[in-house]
């Protein structure tokens, strides 16, 4: 019955709908998580939703568009890897200094005692 609503794997609609849902879940994780690692998971979800959208659009457009979209998504994956490495390094640096990584409790730059 899902086929009647959205079409199967050879239609554009299910990919776009799935990407929209993934993006919304990523936004929710970003706003509600108090741990920076959970926050990072939300960002990864949003990046993946954008990638899926891009590749799906290219696939249903033309051969050239499909190849260009795949190159673009490769770049996004590389940037996501770099971003995750820097984020984890920051988490480790904060943990070394403050012994806790709760985003709501990191206020030492605000003039409060850690």
């Amino acid at each position: 019955m899902m086929d009647l609503l959205l079409g199967g794997p050879d239609r554009l609609a299910p990919y776009l709908m799935l990407a929209a849902a993934l993006f919304a879940l990523g936004v929710f994780a970003c706003v509600t998580r108090r741990n920076p690692v959970g926050y990072l998971m939300g960002i990864e979800l949003m990046l993946n939703a954008a990638n899926l959208d891009m590749v799906a659009y290219g696939r249903f457009r033309s051969e050239t568009a499909a190849a260009n979209a795949q190159v673009g998504s490769l770049f996004v994956i590389a940037l996501a890897a770099a971003e995750a490495a820097v984020a984890l390094a920051l988490v480790y640096a904060i943990f070394q200094n403050l012994r806790d990584v709760d985003l709501d409790k990191i206020r030492s730059l605000n003039g409060e005692e850690p």
């Binding site: 929209a20 849902a21 993934l22 936004v27 929710f28 795949q70 480790y92 709760d102």
Partner: protein
Amino acid sequence: MNVATLIFWPLVAITLVGAAGAAFARNLVYAALSLGASLAGIAGLYFFLQAEYIAVIQMIVYVGGILILILFGVMFSRDIQGTSSQSSWSAKLLGGLASLAALVSLGKLSWTISQKEGLGLLATRSPTSSWVGQISSSSTTHLGDLLMGPFLVPFLVIAVLLTVVLIAALGLVRKDAP
């Protein structure tokens, strides 16, 4: 209903449920593991989109690399089970509203565009050829040609950026960091 459809919808379900787990699970380890399931499901969907190379790279970089990094990062948390550090109701309400806005706007946009599929805005090419068995052998070759041709400069910039990022990450975690 053919075999492709029978594989496709469970993949979509795994991706959705995994993403929901990553967003809602209290225990951070469970959240990271269900994020891994979601990322693997997306890799499977790339096969349906005839992007085999991207699918393999997704498995290697995301499931093999970033997920492990995240699991390491979870260990720095004092409260992995999430028993005491729950976000406030206002944060949850705000998150729900923001994600609802994103879902409604993106969903409406996606629906409108995908309804125009047949009107020539998006030419659906060979709608019956998206079965996994028909791997387009030229796709990866074409990708390499593009990376070494018109996309050479961005490719080099990404390479330099990755080097800089690795050195910067090492500098951040040095014991005698400034």
